[in-house]
């Protein structure tokens, strides 16, 4: 039997509430009431109302809410979904949110040093997948290879990952999938909180995060703050060789990769009988250095004494501030639910590097190489209603406007404004209790307006007379898209089957449409194409699951076809001494699968195996026959978990040994490098103590136990042959009250 936890139990008239703990138990004395309502906070588990005809006080001996949470989540959608909660993040806590989630098959973190990473689902990252927070699409500078995800992982209560097309609900960009972050935990006490201390040996990281919250009648609040500081990270090598440049490392540290994060958030919520509203205000601020000896593709020497301290952040570095204001409200009138979401986001990113002349560009006046300042306004509404017994419908409307302004002496993308609108309907029909079919359709319109950009310095034209070259022309484009999805869920005995087929799309980014100039970061000349069409993708997914009391086997294969995948094609041509890269479109096929096997050998001992495989091939165009860039190689994870239930690990403690094997990636596309396979050993150890109403949680993780030197094919520093971090011991100590 699996225990449900975090079920919210409250009395309809008084808003007295209690949360069930992980063992499934809860206690709260209710008296003088006639109706006791059980409302699981997870909407997919069952809700029920226990009614007592008698007006006398009742005492329930025991209320057992039965349900298989995993199964219910899986039956909720025809797509492959993975849901994890806060304790999963804490147990797998790593330098950044995506790194903490990397054990989930199909999910990858494209790392930028030790404290930042970009998400990728089944090899699709950048603008081909989206991250949402409380239903609102997170808008940073997703297109950039060295731009991380600006999220405080301590503030996330629940994560649901959809692998597969998500355009139906989220519109443009949700091709590879959606990572949905929620901070939906509702405090149950008048005052409660937790504090987490985090330490990491490899980059001498130190972090502290605290949350306090409380609930007073129908109102609740939460305040959270995080501070994290880390030094240059260590790699298991004394020197780095890049294009036969030898770069010596002092104390095996990757110079100037230190950084720090400062995040804070505030939530105010109202939870009424038929109306609830949730307001989140948060600010993420982080700053981290780039490896000093090679920035982008260029090897550099500098007068800066980088080895003076391993904790300081010298040039080149980047800083980003992400401010967010999100309101989610919902009304329930009878069986009809109406949701409204509004949000404002500001993302300000700055990149600094030593001003140096290059080609015809004289020495710039300051270190601000690039700045992006992006405001995003989002509004969406959704109506959910049961039509008949077996049919439920939902429909929605969303609108988003963004304005991105650039600054600094380095040009990569022009200023732009985009406005997008979408409308969708989605229905689910229960043919029987075991068979559900679902289908939906959506129409979108995306308008892009790019502003012209000219160099701030002069370059001789064909006749030799100096001109301020135009690097992006004024451009207005509009993209229409019609997307759809259809799926089924089937459950029979121990088997569960899901199938989904869907179309998704994305509008080309302003960089793809309008760039025409040197990308000094990667040292190449990138030329956009303003005739690019919206990228479309068709994907078929399946989820097959077999489960008995000790064994669970899951297989999730997919097949994906792009009639017009947008890629940056390196050509043999030169312009201003740099290789020309053209944005172009090609037909692409991708397929692969993930597996997940869990065997509960005994009460104490369990074995887990996860694996993923992906194949991609371009079917047309200049790079026909090649793969796609940043394709992750196959990998498999074997782990053994031991939960003694007593002794030094306590009742809840566990120890997990993990063996990860990753294949070589030899299917590459210019200008990538082949990457060798590797094997890693990781260890994790945790236990908790209950002290009265408080609890202490301790988690120790050892990553790369054998201090192996290896390369991550999708890492940012792979470009310049920098290996991944060496052995690391991290400790997380949590105290909740």
């Amino acid at each position: 039997m699996k225990f449900c936890y975090s079920i919210l139990i409250f009395l309809l008239c008084t808003q007295l509430a209690a949360h069930s703990v992980e063992s499934g138990e809860f206690s709260q004395s209710f008296s003088g009431q006639s109706r006791l309502s059980l409302h699981p906070q997870h909407p997919d588990t069952i809700g029920r109302t226990i009614q007592d005809e008698d007006t006398n006080p009742i005492e329930l001996d025991e209320v057992i809410v039965r349900g298989d949470r995993m199964r219910n989540i899986q039956m909720k959608s025809a797509q492959n979904i993975v849901r994890v909660d806060k304790s999963y993040i804490e147990d797998n806590f790593s330098g950044s949110l995506m790194q903490s989630l990397e054990k989930i098959p199909g999910i990858r973190a494209m790392t930028i040093g030790s404290g930042q990473s970009k998400p990728a689902i089944r090899g699709l990252g950048f603008n081909r997948m989206i991250v949402t927070e409380n239903g609102i699409k997170h808008e940073g500078q997703q297109w950039g290879e060295d731009h991380g995800l600006e999220i405080d992982q301590f503030s996330v209560d629940e994560i649901e990952i959809v692998k597969g097309p998500g355009s139906l609900l989220y519109g443009s960009d949700a091709i590879g999938g959606v990572i949905q972050l929620r901070n939906n935990y509702i405090p149950t006490e008048q005052a409660e909180g937790n504090i987490n201390l985090y330490g990491r040996s490899n980059n001498e990281s130190m972090g502290v995060s605290g949350q306090v919250g409380g609930r007073i009648n129908k109102w609740y609040y939460k305040i959270n703050a995080t501070y994290m500081d880390y030094a240059d990270y260590k790699v298991p090598t004394d020197s780095i060789q890049y294009y036969s440049y030898y770069i010596q490392l002092k104390n095996r540290r990757l110079r100037n990769t230190a950084g720090r994060d400062r995040n804070a958030g505030f939530t105010l919520g109202y939870l009424g009988e038929n109306f609830r509203s949730h307001l989140l205000v948060s600010n993420i601020n982080s700053r981290s250095g780039f490896f000093a000896d090679a920035h982008g593709l260029e090897v550099r020497l500098s007068d800066i004494n980088y080895d003076r301290s391993s904790r300081d952040i010298d040039l080149p570095y980047h800083s980003v501030n992400h401010f967010k204001l999100i309101n989610n409200s919902a009304w329930r009138i009878g069986n009809i639910t109406w949701e409204g979401n509004i949000a404002f986001q500001n993302n300000r990113r700055k990149e600094f590097s030593e001003p140096v002349s290059h080609g015809y560009m004289p020495v710039p006046p300051d270190a601000l190489e690039r700045q992006f300042d992006k405001n995003t306004y989002t509004a969406s509404t959704l109506l959910r209603m049961p039509v008949k017994d077996r049919l439920s419908l939902q429909g929605g409307l969303s609108i988003e406007h963004q304005h991105n302004k650039r600054d600094g002496w380095g040009f990569v993308i022009p200023d732009f404004r985009t406005t997008s609108m979408g409308v969708f309907v989605y229905g689910r029909y229960h043919i029987s209790d075991n068979l559900i079919i679902s289908s939906g359709a959506r129409a979108d319109k995306v308008k892009v307006h790019i502003d012209s950009y000219r160099d701030w310095y002069q370059t001789p034209d064909e006749q030799g007379s100096p001109v301020y070259k135009e690097r992006a022309a004024d451009l207005q484009k509009s993209f229409d898209s019609f997307t759809w999805s259809a799926g089924l869920n089937y459950q029979q005995g121990r088997w569960m089957l899901k199938a989904n087929i869907g179309k998704s799309f994305r509008a080309p980014t302003p960089k793809e449409l309008g760039s025409d100039g040197v990308n000094y970061h990667i040292f190449r000349y990138e030329k956009g194409d303003n005739s690019l069409r919206a990228e479309e993708s068709y994907q078929a997914d399946m989820g097959i699951r077999w489960q008995n009391s000790v064994l669970t086997i899951q297989l999730e294969p997919f097949l994906n076809y792009f009639p017009n995948y947008i890629y940056l094609n390196p050509t043999p041509e030169y312009y201003e001494g740099l290789q020309m890269y053209h944005y172009a479109q090609a037909r692409v096929i991708r397929y692969g699968f993930e597996t997940d096997v869990h065997l509960q050998l005994t009460r104490q001992l369990s074995l887990m195996m996860q694996s993923e495989y992906l194949y991609a091939e371009q079917l047309s165009g200049d790079k026909k026959g090649y793969s796609l860039p940043f394709s992750p190689p196959w990998s498999a994870n074997f782990s053994i978990g031991y939960r003694p239930g007593k002794g030094f690990l306590g009742t809840e403690g566990d120890i997990v040994l993990e063996y990860r094997v990753t294949g070589a990636q030899n299917r590459i596309v210019p200008p990538e490098e082949k990457t060798e396979g590797y094997q890693l050993l990781n260890l994790s150890l945790g236990r908790s103590w209950d002290i009265k109403d408080n609890s202490i949680k301790l988690r120790l993780q050892v990553q790369n136990l054998l201090n192996k030197r290896y390369y991550d094919h999708t890492g940012f520093y792979r470009l310049i042959d920098v290996p991944e971090p060496g052995r690391n011991v991290s400790v997380m100590l949590g105290f909740s009250f």
């Binding site: 550099r300 097959i544 043999p572 001494g577 397929y591 194949y615 200049d622 200008p671």
Partner: protein, 157 residues
């Protein structure tokens, strides 16, 4: 039924995954400067007011693309050459009228080996000192090879 479908699917995936052999170009072109006439090599000196000839053997497994030569100053010692031996740099200095050279050259179609020869004139009014001589070479598939040579611009007398 499901069992059967599962089996078929696995078989199909396995079949697809170990399918065709890659027949597309996976090799970068090469810049060979080991020949006796190759020029310039690390620490070679070129004279202002004079012309010199760049000479190298360019090769590729399939078909060569184009090459580019770029010369920029290294008065700030911003990086070093790709050769194992570095030559002793002059004193750091601020550029006044540095020599800037940036030309691309076409290689005739269909070549797998090409003897590159380009004459480069050094104007007589440019700053003397440390320079970087950068050779970039592409092949038809878009692979690029790079070579950086540290050279010096001096006066003939």
């Amino acid at each position: 039924m499901i069992r059967k479908a599962l089996f078929c699917l696995t078989a199909l995936l396995l079949l697809l995954s170990c399918g065709q052999e890659d027949d597309h170009d996976m090799e970068k072109p090469e810049i060979d400067m080991s020949g006796v006439s190759a020029f310039p090599l690390t620490c070679d000196v070129v004279y202002r007011g004079d012309s010199f000839t760049f000479k190298a053997l360019l090769t590729d497994n399939r078909e060569l693309g184009n090459y580019n030569i770029e010369i920029h100053n290294n008065f700030d010692h911003h990086s070093h050459s790709t050769d194992d031996v570095d030559c002793e740099p002059d004193e750091k200095k601020t550029p006044v009228n540095p020599f800037i050279y940036n030309e691309s050259f076409r290689i005739p179609d269909g070549m797998v080996s090409y003897q590159a020869e380009s004459s480069i004139h050094v104007p007589d009014d440019v700053d003397t000192g440390d320079y970087h001589f950068m050779i970039r070479l592409t092949d038809k598939s878009g692979w690029q090879q790079l070579k950086a040579v540290g050279i010096k611009v001096r006066d003939r007398n």
